[in-house]
Symmetry: C2
Subunit: 168 residues, 2 copies
DNA sequence: CTCACTTATTTTAAGTATAAAGTATCTCCG
DNA sequence: CGGAGATACTTTATACTTAAAATAAGTGAG
């Protein structure tokens, strides 16, 4: 089947161009990381100061807010892109603090259903409002008519990266 | 990984437009976060599998690689945008494992100079090479002629966010 | 039925992260 | 000088994170 000794490059770019593309890719990655770190850090700080709350806890509530009938616990790690083991103590504390309930399913005793409580929902809405205005404040300087364009590009990037991860 | 829904406007624009901008900002933030999480997770996984190494450790080496004469320890938290206390155990382990040295300055005994060892530099170069090709693999599908444009936009965004954080 | 498999969740070990308090050293004003 | 305050770094307490092992419950082939 294979004939050539050294498999020919998929894209026959010359060394210099390839080097340049490498650097451009690295720059993109570093910028992406810097932006996210910067915003995330600021949001985290404010969550802590204003509400004595953390972002992972908020993220769980955000998922449950749109599910009035609750969610199978196992759905959370998938949606939040975190490991299952990570979620256990976070959910524990949210239950303990009265924001959510955790009920075993009676169809399958391995499964648990998590559901926001009334107080949880109230607290979430209050925090979500602040979260939104903090974000608006941080991003205010970015031209409104270019928000969607940038979002699309990132969407595209996300799809590309996901595909690249799927293949092997 | 904050995931908020929408809430009322903040700046003195009116109604519908403001709502729309608000949602566009949230979408942008979620996409940014998703891209970074996705790429970071994959890079972390590979670092671990291939080199039994972590990204924070790699990041420290990356900073020291460009400083043949070493770096004042206090410079690291600034460059890496992490807290100083966080760095202590990471640097400890890198010293322990022989990748770097930590020497007290004799001009100011509070100050420490960290410097890569020969083996550290060798290990770093090997890992950096893989890091680069992993990134190239993940980003390969993104048009090379648009890399710089996206990077510029993120650069701009970073500046805007930083300014917004400065003001208060 | 039962034993191997699968699935849902928790536990554990190791590492990363922050904020805040602590220690040591330096600087400089009075 | 000498002590107040600044600076460099570490320690502590708490929380998040993953990978991998453990537990527990369902599923299905023989």
């Amino acid at each position: 089947m294979a004939v050539a000794k050294e498999s020919p490059p998929v894209s026959p770019k010359s060394g210099v161009d390839q080097e340049a593309e490498y650097r451009a890719q690295t720059r993109l990655w570093l910028r992406l990381l810097a932006c996210t770190t910067l915003i995330e850090g600021e949001l985290r700080r404010r969550f802590r100061e204003e509400f004595d709350f953390t972002m992972p806890r908020f993220d769980v509530l955000a998922q449950l807010d749109r599910e009035p009938s609750g969610l199978v616990l196992g759905e959370l790690p998938k949606r939040l892109m975190v490991s299952a083991g990570n979620l256990t103590p976070i959910v524990d504390r949210l239950v303990e603090d009265g924001y959510i309930t955790r009920t075993p399913s009676n169809l399958d005793r391995r499964v648990q259903i998590v559901c926001m409580t009334v107080e949880g929902r109230k607290a979430f809405r209050r925090m979500a409002k602040s979260h939104g205005s903090w974000l608006a404040e941080l991003l205010a300087g970015f031209p409104a008519d270019r928000l969607d364009g940038l979002t699309s590009e990132l969407d595209e990037l996300k799809g590309i990266v996901r595909d690249a991860m799927q293949k092997p």
